[in-house]
């Protein structure tokens, strides 16, 4: 690997939260326990669509130990949403006043002295509903005769998205071959190990403190302030260690909202923790999508045109669904150059669990369709799947017309590496195949739908007299290791060691605002802010060094491994700790402080930088039972400059496990709007024995927009796997899997149909 040699970056650094996590000292919102704390439970709608006629809380209030019962009437009734910039997309009252729109929607909340009493009180709340007709599928809900879920929203069409470039019809004319297919992509549960949880404490000074399992303390702060009628500055959100997020924990959820509402009335701390069942039925999920894909290609393999239409099952509210709609359509074009491209996405309300962002943000679904169809086209035309991808792939300097500018791009190297790897496997036994998929992903989003006035990321660094460093960031560590990544960047920039850095995050009272952990943004955006802050501090320090060392003006100074030195003559210098002491004295006892921030400007419509990859999945099918065995996953990956070595491996392997689950194990079947498997017995999450080896080949590129050339790693890695597995099965068995998840029963059905088709041909 020819990555530049750094002292700290891309070396084997322990995660800085490691000792806390392996010794049981790490406390999560789940563990927070305050004096006088009450326990909250939520009553949920049993109906998919119904008017709330009345809620009688008398019997519940009479139960000894119950301190309060709240309904929508006890709130300001504000319709909120995370897309704050667009009022019409702020469509959700967490405790609705007029009607419920999905089974599991909160209708009331109780706080009591024990969990058990709170739970018993739920049965004593009498809700009178007028059941309304409900609709569950987007293609049904979009019909004229379908029941209206949100008043004033015609045909239940929540959001639409149109992306187009080039002359699409002309590009189709140029094509020698056109293929069209329909695909059905399922939902998926985030299934964080820590369920949704919050503890709220409102005090007589009128200030709210909320411990929340959140991916963005800042978003939680803003959203809570908005619905509670408080100033943001009077709301403090603390994210202690967070037990996973994966895209499901940066909106306002019922744990945060109900605990806050009840605490504001009682002036006591209230804790609400979702049971695993609640987490399944009532925390928003990955968006199920129906995709129509039509692709035109020249017989030499040049891509001409693609036209796609996508209908997503939005569920009852918008959430982050609008972003998923857009990103799915955009990444559906990735990573190829299209002469003409057209995407129309329709997000449709239904009376089911709302869908939202989940790792990959619409791209896993988009790739499942695109990458499989490309393989089928190759088979139809006798083209080589690697060659076709190489021929049409993005390159450095390419502009996705009107959408994105591609700076660093290691796609071709990724394709080459995987081609080599696949060839090295040689001929595989019967019923076994290797499938590939390439893709790319964003390193954070450009669009400020939250309507934040703050920089997207900020950082403050302060150097103590002994050289230890306080680094205050707003980015949120949810397990992906951002605390460690920021410490690494800070240590490298300042020229010190990771153990000299103390990272402060997850507290809106002490940390600057940051949009949080989603869209794979933190390494690039928060990393840039940290780098800027540390460069600022280092510059101030070096000013004293220049004076102290009295060197000729032509020489440059730098700090590396706690040694302040002349770059051209590194043996001449002084210890970093010595310099810090002197600098402090020279500044009348003031610590050196640096500030940094980052907001992407003029970087296109989507993202300031894109990762690229190609993944291969080696899978085997039992032709008699349809059971699938994954042998191995190999990914060639371009994330620019890797920063956190252990973190990167963890992200690859973790993403593969989640993406494999999406591909062939996890499903959220509903009957009349009711989730049929809201538990970990029936919802199949991959376990250790099924997890294959997942190797990584790192491709060396340098992203000018990223700190030290870095870009995203971790979310993009979820994108290719379902497609690669589908392609593996196509390669092994000759069947085309157009529906997720790929189950044994669907495999056998496809094999039977193939056999029948072949028999008919004869």
């Amino acid at each position: 690997m020819s990555h530049a040699k750094y002292s700290v970056i891309n070396t084997h650094v322990h995660n800085i939260d490691g000792v806390a996590k392996v010794t049981g000292r790490a406390t999560y919102t789940f563990d927070v326990n305050l004096p006088g704390m009450l326990h909250g439970k939520i009553l949920r709608s049993p109906h998919p669509h119904a008017k709330i006629l009345s809620i009688d809380t008398t019997r519940a209030l009479e139960l000894p130990g119950v301190k309060i019962v709240v309904t929508g009437k006890d709130t300001l009734g504000i319709k909120q949403g995370i897309w704050r910039r667009y009022e019409e997309l702020c469509d959700e009252q967490v405790l609705p006043l007029e009607k419920v729109r999905y089974i599991g929607e909160p209708v009331a909340a109780v706080a009591a002295i024990t969990e058990e009493i709170a739970e018993a009180a739920l049965d004593l709340i009498d809700v009178e509903y007028e059941v309304l007709p409900a609709v569950y599928e987007p293609l049904e809900a979009i019909k004229k005769e379908a029941p209206t879920i949100h008043e004033g929203v015609e045909r239940n069409v929540n959001v639409t998205r149109h992306i187009e470039w080039g002359d699409v019809d002309e590009a189709f004319e140029e094509a020698d071959y056109i293929r069209e297919d329909w695909f059905k992509c399922s939902g998926q549960a985030h299934m964080c190990m820590e369920t949704r949880a919050a503890v709220s404490s409102f005090t007589p000074e009128g200030k709210l403190t909320c411990w929340a399992s959140t991916q963005s303390a800042y978003y939680t702060q803003g959203l809570l302030a908005g619905v509670l009628g408080l100033r943001e500055g009077d709301v403090r959100v603390l994210a202690p260690y967070v037990g996973g997020g994966f895209g499901g924990k940066f909106e306002l959820d019922a744990a945060m909202f109900c605990s806050a509402v009840m605490s504001m009335k009682l002036f006591k701390p209230v804790k609400v923790v979702f049971s695993r069942e609640e987490d399944f039925i009532a925390s928003k999920r990955r968006t199920p999508m129906f995709y129509y894909v039509r692709t035109g290609i020249k017989k030499d393999g040049t891509f001409c045109a693609r036209e796609s239409r996508m209908f997503s099952n939005g569920g009852a509210y918008t959430g982050m669904g609008a972003t998923a709609l857009y990103l799915s359509g955009f990444f559906h074009s990735f990573p190829y150059k299209w002469r003409g491209y057209r995407y129309d996405g329709y997000r449709v309300y239904t009376n089911t669990l709302p869908s939202t962002s989940m790792r990959g943000f619409g791209a896993p679904q988009a790739m499942f369709c695109s990458e499989q169809q490309i393989d089928w086209i190759c088979a139809d035309l006798g083209l080589d799947p690697f060659e076709v991808r190489r021929k049409n792939g993005h390159t450095e300097g390419y502009e996705v017309p009107g959408q994105a500018f591609i700076a660093s791009c290691g796609l071709e190297q990724c394709i080459n590496e995987i081609e080599k790897w696949v060839k090295s496997k040689g001929k595989l036994p019967a019923n076994r195949g290797i499938g590939i998929s390439s893709c790319g992903f964003m390193s954070g989003g450009i669009f400020n739908w939250f309507d934040s006035p703050y920089s997207f990321s900020s950082a403050v660094v302060t150097i103590n007299v002994d050289g230890t460093v306080e680094l205050h960031v707003g980015c949120q560590d949810i397990g992906q290791g951002s605390n460690t990544t920021m410490a690494i960047i800070a240590a490298e920039t300042l020229g010190v060691k990771v153990e000299d850095i103390r990272v402060h995050s997850g507290d809106t009272a002490h940390c600057p605002a940051d949009l949080g952990a989603w869209g794979s943004r933190q390494t690039l955006m928060a990393g840039n802010a940290v780098k800027m802050a540390c460069e600022d501090a280092k510059k101030q320090l070096l000013e004293f060094a220049y004076a102290e060392m009295g060197i000729n003006i032509v020489y440059d100074l730098d700090i590396k491994d706690r040694w302040v030195h002349i770059v051209a003559r590194p043996e001449r210098g002084l210890k970093y700790e010595e310099l810090v002491k002197k600098a402090l004295r020279a500044k009348d006892g003031q610590r050196i402080m640096g500030r940094g921030y980052y907001t992407p400007h003029r970087k296109g419509m989507i993202s300031p930088a894109y990762s690229y990859m190609m993944q291969a999945v080696d899978a085997e099918v039992d032709p008699e039972t349809g059971k699938i065995k994954i042998h191995e996953v190999m990914t060639a990956h371009d994330c620019g400059q890797p920063i956190n070595q252990l973190g990167l491996i963890g992200q690859l392997e973790g993403a593969a496990s989640m993406a494999l689950g999406y591909a062939y194990l996890e499903d959220m079947p509903m009957e009349d709007g009711k989730l049929m498997n809201p538990n970990l017995v029936d919802y199949k999450v991959i376990k250790a024995p099924e997890m294959p080896e997942a190797g990584i080949i790192e491709i060396d590129t340098y992203e000018p927009e990223g700190p030290y050339g870095a870009k995203e790693a971790g979310e993009g890695l979820t994108n290719p796997t379902a497609a690669a597995l589908g392609n593996a099965i196509y390669s092994a068995m000759g069947i085309q899997m157009k529906e997720l998840p790929i189950t044994p029963e669907r495999v056998l059905k496809a094999l039977r149909e193939k056999k029948e088709q072949e028999a008919q041909k004869k």
Binding site: G18, V22, C192, L652, G654, N679
Partner: protein
């Protein structure tokens, strides 16, 4: 219904608690003894986040009545370190980055600890099976397997 006295050892210390017999071991550990390292992540004995060791054997504490542990020795994640010195498996986890959000980690460590004490030259498959009852949503398990393997191969000794 009458509360009962439960006398047992946790992490080497003698405890006496007064509990309803229906109290789960996980509840005694977390709520009565304040040892919140042990987590809970489901209601169906599926996730393994609550795994502790009872008389050296791994069990899911959400599925054990505390009262059945009368006279027994329970070890939780807090009991793995000795005077600030981490156990071999904890050090191996640190080196291999075998955790991300960390919520499953205490349970994983306890399953691993019991397995390591019982297994002799285990195969990779056996190591994987040792954590079959523990769900991890973050790591994809392989780094955990590598960490356990390293200990069973003698690469980490008690300090």
């Amino acid at each position: 219904m009458e509360k009962q006295v439960l006398r047992f050892k946790v992490n080497g210390d003698e405890y006496e608690v007064f509990i309803h017999p229906k109290t789960l071991l996980a509840e005694v550990i977390r709520d009565h003894l304040g040892l919140t390292g042990t987590k809970r992540g489901c209601e169906t004995v599926s996730c393994g986040a609550c795994t502790v060791n009872v008389n050296g054997k791994s069990v899911k504490s959400c599925s054990v009545l505390a009262i059945q542990c009368e006279g027994m020795e329970v070890t939780t994640v807090e009991g793995l370190e000795k005077n600030g010195k981490l156990s071999p498996i904890q050090r191996s986890f640190l080196d291999h980055g075998s955790y991300q959000c960390g919520f499953c980690t205490p349970g994983m460590l306890m399953s691993a600890t019991a397995f390591i004490s019982e297994a002799k030259n285990p195969t990779k498959e056996q190591v994987k099976e040792s954590i079959e009852g523990n769900i991890c949503r973050c790591t994809g398990y392989n780094s955990i397997v590598r960490a356990i393997e390293a200990v069973t191969q003698g690469k980490y000794k008690e300090e």
